[in-house]
């Protein structure tokens, strides 16, 4: 009772390795789990997340597909309805649009629409994100489309430990889940607990940095940027920013966000996607309701400029969310800088 538990051992690894480890552990744990997607076998995935898994588990459990997102997402749904645990990789989030009907009209609705008898324990995993001059159709972060949809769950981890724990939780969950990874996050390094039974609960945000002056609310790679900006705010302005990493967009942990803002009285929401009708719009709505009397400044938002992502580096830089833009926005919310919000 009084003995202090030894600190759990951890291993340092990249986000990419953490996702891979989670997939491998779940493939080993449950023979109903199988992977499906384009180029995930011999080529080991376009972002090498599935490296080594084809060799270890073979072509039945690491199933290569043609470029047929509607077809193989639909096949994943059918297999999931029959009790299997498919983990479908969409090469990047951008390509999921051709399977949108399968996700929104089928996966999300099956349990509800058919009276609760049969569910759809499907995982779709895919990276979002821009910043590599991959341009308009290859740089998007529209995970909110799915978070908007009742029946779907959406998680978007930013750290290796969460990527590992949330992926495992997603595979064990009985509902359809979109796991949003991130192209920039893949190379982020961090500590991952060695316990193969550890999962991160879906629907819980994390306070990743404590502070008292302003709350930065973000998910996915924007949560990593928020932490960097928080350090700059401390160094350059003596400001203590708190960072809330949402981790899960649906279900959404309003309580953790609200508790933070009740303490800091100021909120800046950061999302790599478009702000209009976006994740930050939902967060702002919930904050104003939960924290109406606590706010010392309007809730503000930073998102991708309201244009498709342009190609040329300087144009991309003008449109994309970056640390400088988050910094300027935070200073504005703190009344330490000019108003940068024009919408």
């Amino acid at each position: 009772m009084s003995a202090t538990a030894p600190a759990p051992s951890t291993t340092t690894m990249t986000y990419r390795e953490a996702v891979r480890l989670a997939l491998r552990e779940e493939l080993l744990r449950d023979e109903d789990v199988f992977l499906m997607g384009e180029e995930i076998g011999v080529f080991e995935g376009s972002y090498k997340v599935t490296a080594g898994l084809f060799r270890e588990f073979g072509p039945i459990r690491v199933r290569e597909t043609p470029i047929s997102e509607e077809g193989f997402v639909g096949a994943g749904i059918g297999a999931a309805m029959m009790g299997l645990r498919p983990v479908v990789e969409i090469m990047t989030l951008n390509f999921i649009l051709v399977a949108m009907d399968q996700v929104v009209n089928h996966a999300a609705k099956i349990r509800y629409m058919f009276g609760g008898e049969v569910g759809c324990p499907l995982v779709i995993r895919t990276p979002n994100g821009g910043g590599s001059q991959l341009t308009a159709q290859h740089s998007q972060s529209f995970e909110v489309f799915f978070a908007h949809t009742p029946g779907m769950k959406v998680v978007a981890p930013s750290t290796p430990a969460d990527a590992h724990g949330l992926m495992k939780a997603a595979i064990r969950d009985d509902d359809p889940i979109l796991v949003v990874e991130n192209l920039q996050s893949y190379k982020v390094r961090g500590e991952v607990p060695d316990d193969p039974d550890r999962v991160v609960e879906i629907g819980r945000a994390a306070v990743t940095r404590e502070g008292s002056d302003i709350t930065l609310v973000a998910h996915s790679f924007a949560a990593t940027r928020a932490l960097r900006v928080a350090e700059r705010l401390k160094r350059d302005h003596g400001v203590d920013a708190e960072v809330v990493d949402l981790r899960s967009l649906r279900p959404l942990d309003t309580e953790t966000v609200a508790k933070s803002i009740q303490k800091t009285n100021r909120a800046l929401c950061v999302d790599e996607g478009w702000a209009t009708y976006g994740v930050s719009a939902e967060i702002a709505s919930r904050i104003q309701r939960a924290c109406f009397d606590d706010l010392d400044a309007p809730i503000e938002r930073v998102g991708l400029a309201e244009v498709p992502m342009p190609y040329a580096k300087q144009l991309e830089r003008a449109a994309i969310v970056n640390d400088d833009k988050i910094m300027a926005a935070a200073l504005s919310v703190l009344d330490l800088g000019p108003d940068v919000f024009s919408y």
């Binding site: 077809g71 309805m81 029959m82 299997l84 058919f114």
Partner: protein, 330 residues
């Protein structure tokens, strides 16, 4: 394929069930007892029952907006199905799916869908599960001539082809979309499209003959069950009613002579004559069967009408496995 007399009579029973159920539902739409509309399989009974009885009770099936015939053909109880159309608590989906989106998992019905063609990849997935779990179940994917021009069909056919999945793609070609003739929007024969995937594609020209449909689907299902992969069966048939009940449309889009020729070939009448001619049953026995099914449908309608409406809380149930996940911004 030799069928027993019991099986032959069961075919007639299920065709009658579809006919009388759908005609009863049609009346209930007109009386305002069923909200919205329904899409009947009247005239297409042979195509539905021939296919459904060519697979096993535990085989899978997906369907479309013309939705009640499929589960009835597969053996569904009529009461909960009718109650679903009326949006009652006793409905097969608790009144949450309605006519367009119903499933009866007890008979392998994995879901009818109002998005044309969209359930076909799901049938391929069910077939994949059968293969991965070393079962010998087959998935029967029903779709119309309209869905034959949706891309998802060909993605599913390709997947089923490369993975040798036990799927029977069953095109119910009733020759019209809502009013658009299939011939004007379809390049080539639908059955022939299978050849591009190197899988068998056959057309049953007389889809009003339940045995012709049965034999073609049985061959495809047996092949699938043996591990030899998918097939496409296109069945030529005709819907006797409008696209959906209560639709105010001139019927000009269908040529009168064509229409009369098909209406003269009522699949239930044709099969009754066949059963009589082959000595499978006497006229009295077939009359009794018709009366029995009429009573069954009437009982289903009464059950549906007398059933309670769902409690409003049901609207918020069963979104997620764990109800606490269903947070909604108030």
């Amino acid at each position: 394929m030799k069928l027993t007399n019991e099986e032959l009579l069961e075919m007639q029973r299920r065709m009658l069930r579809i006919r009388l159920f759908d005609e009863r539902a049609s009346k209930m739409v007109k009386r305002g007892q069923i909200p919205g509309t329904v899409h009947t399989s009247v005239g297409q009974e042979a195509q539905v029952v021939g296919a459904c009885m060519a697979v096993r009770a535990d085989d899978y099936m997906t369907g479309n907006h013309r939705s009640h015939g499929h589960p009835i053909g597969k053996g569904s109880a009529l009461g909960p199905l009718m109650a679903e159309l009326l949006g009652k608590a006793t409905g097969i989906c608790q009144g949450k799916g309605g006519s367009l989106h119903l499933a009866d998992f007890a008979v392998g019905s994995l879901g009818e869908s109002g998005i044309v063609g969209s359930s076909i990849p799901i049938a391929a997935g069910a077939a994949l599960s059968s293969k991965l779990l070393a079962q010998d179940r087959v998935a029967l994917a029903f779709f119309g001539d309209g869905a034959a021009n949706q891309g998802g069909l060909y993605e599913a056919m390709n997947l089923a082809g490369i993975w040798r999945l036990p799927v029977v793609f069953l095109c119910e070609n009733n020759q019209y979309a809502l009013s658009t003739p299939a011939a004007t929007v379809t390049s080539g024969r639908i059955a022939d499209r299978a050849h591009g995937f190197d899988i068998p594609g056959v057309r049953v020209d007389d889809g009003q003959d339940v045995l012709a449909v049965h034999d073609a689907v049985r061959e495809a299902a047996d092949r699938a069950r043996r591990g030899e992969g998918p097939s496409l069966v296109e069945v030529m048939t005709y819907r006797f009613h409008e696209h959906s009940e209560g639709l105010r449309l001139s019927t000009d889009y269908r040529d009168a002579a064509e229409r009369d020729a098909w209406l003269a070939r009522d699949p239930i009448t044709l099969f009754r004559e066949r059963l009589l001619a082959d000595g499978v049953a006497a006229a009295e026995a077939l009359d009794a069967l018709e009366a029995e099914v009429a009573d069954e449908v009437e009982a289903a309608a009464r059950f549906a009408l007398e059933s309670p409406l769902p409690e409003p809380e049901v609207a918020f149930a069963d979104l997620y496995t764990d109800p606490s996940a269903a947070e909604v911004a108030a």
